[in-house]
Subunit: 157 residues, 4 copies
């Protein structure tokens, strides 16, 4: 359960193809960068553009889906939580920090035609289970009875 809210919501384009790896314990992780663009006027009244780059991390099945369907240039919606991790620079021994968005929901936007798409279903989205967050039963039990196989399928399409 969260005690406090920690949420990031982004719409942007992938700057790189997703990079997939598998942890020693056998879990899938994917990393990619996402650019969000913003225009503003500077103090001289000239229209300027700023691009902000975000580091996205996804785990498990969501990682696999990102790896399979996302490509550099693809427009996506990403929702997740902010996480800053520290690591030691091998060369200097210094402690460094990186802030990442741990993705819990991803949606492909647009038609995918000019996005390097090759026949995927571009309007599908994917959401992580809330199992880590101490769940409290079904959201709407009229739709999904106890014992249904809802979560046992691997892929929804």
């Amino acid at each position: 359960m969260a005690r406090g809210l920690n949420k990031a919501m982004l719409i942007g384009h992938l700057g790189t193809d997703p990079e997939m790896r598998v942890t020693p314990s056998g879990q899938s992780v994917v990393n990619f960068t996402l650019a969000t663009n913003e225009s503003f006027k500077d103090s001289g009244g000239n229209l300027q553009e700023r691009t902000e780059w975000h580091r996205i991390v996804a785990w498990g099945k969501l990682a696999e889906i990102c790896n399979q369907y996302l490509k550099k240039g693809r427009q996506v919606y990403v929702e997740g939580r902010l996480q800053t991790r520290s690591w030691e620079d091998n060369k200097t021994g210094e402690k460094k920090y990186t802030t990442e968005i741990i993705c819990s929901d991803m949606q492909m936007l647009g038609s995918g035609r000019d996005q390097g798409g090759q026949g995927y279903d571009n309007s599908t989205s994917y959401q992580q289970p809330a199992s880590r967050k101490q769940s409290f039963g079904n959201n709407n039990p009229e739709e999904s009875a106890p014992g249904s196989e809802t979560e046992k399928d691997d892929l929804p399409f």
Copy 2:
């Protein structure tokens, strides 16, 4: 899975105590209203206040927690999806519509001392599982190994 985003996020105070019922199939549902307040200046420059009322619905364990811990006046954060349902007015036979927020995440805010609180843990929050939404594995499998008992407990405190 969502195809598209449908999200509401509210911070406000309960206008009523939660009302709990159990469906014929044995599922818990809770309803309450939430007031969000906004101030603005009218065209005369005078500060005006507007209160917007929202109808909140929660299912399952989240319903039970709302029922147990929330009281009229309590300040909460509510996240959910918008849903408009129609029903027939018994007296006139007319079709009517109500828009509700189907709650998937709730957090109690503040210290609870002057909120009618009687000893509850005011900083706990609760989130629905994403089981209805075709999940894809654990959010961060390093923390919650396959086969762990994460979701088998009833209450997180």
Copy 3:
């Protein structure tokens, strides 16, 4: 200023062309509907689809931009606040309620090629000023010095 949070965030497709009108006081208003789609498995394990329809309202320049660039079928991101207004049914005299999203930010998504697009810049977004909300100076004054003409232009493209 808001006292409380009242926010809706949607990604969906327009179900209708925007309908524009001008109020007696000369203000532009636009209305359109937005569909958000969600798939889920029913208790029998079958994939079901649900479409939720939302009523979107935009005012002022944002209304004009919606009117000019949006078309039925267009995929957009919409952010706004929930507002329920009541009106009297002319035929029955009954009081009725409608919940709408008062749009404060809109973005066109995708490439626009197969969306009825006719040469507009599809990646532009538009955001309402916060003038009604008791503002407190510039967000980042290094970028927009006092006295700059930031808000005097009508159209950003």
Copy 4:
């Protein structure tokens, strides 16, 4: 105007009193850190707690309000955009990166009684103007109109 969405939403407690400074050009800036807490069960099924720390930056009037009313320990809602800036470490000459949330909306939560509060209006919130974002007129001019009946009903149900 944004082209793409870049939004962070946080509810947490200040880890430090806000630190205010004034830029050479005379603009106010405030910095503080915000802790968001999350509980989860580890793979052994034990309840663990994680605290995530966020660096918040506010400009202009919003900076002044944060400086005046916020204190270490205060619970707040913060909304803003993610921004990563780089700087050179004086000692090592290395390039380093920091991700901050440029605050555009802030709300004090709770009653403020045990939060070091000294008579401020604890339920006030503050929102930046959207002047940098190329605004398009009034959000809802019907509300600013003298004598409109829009807001006179109390309860919609």
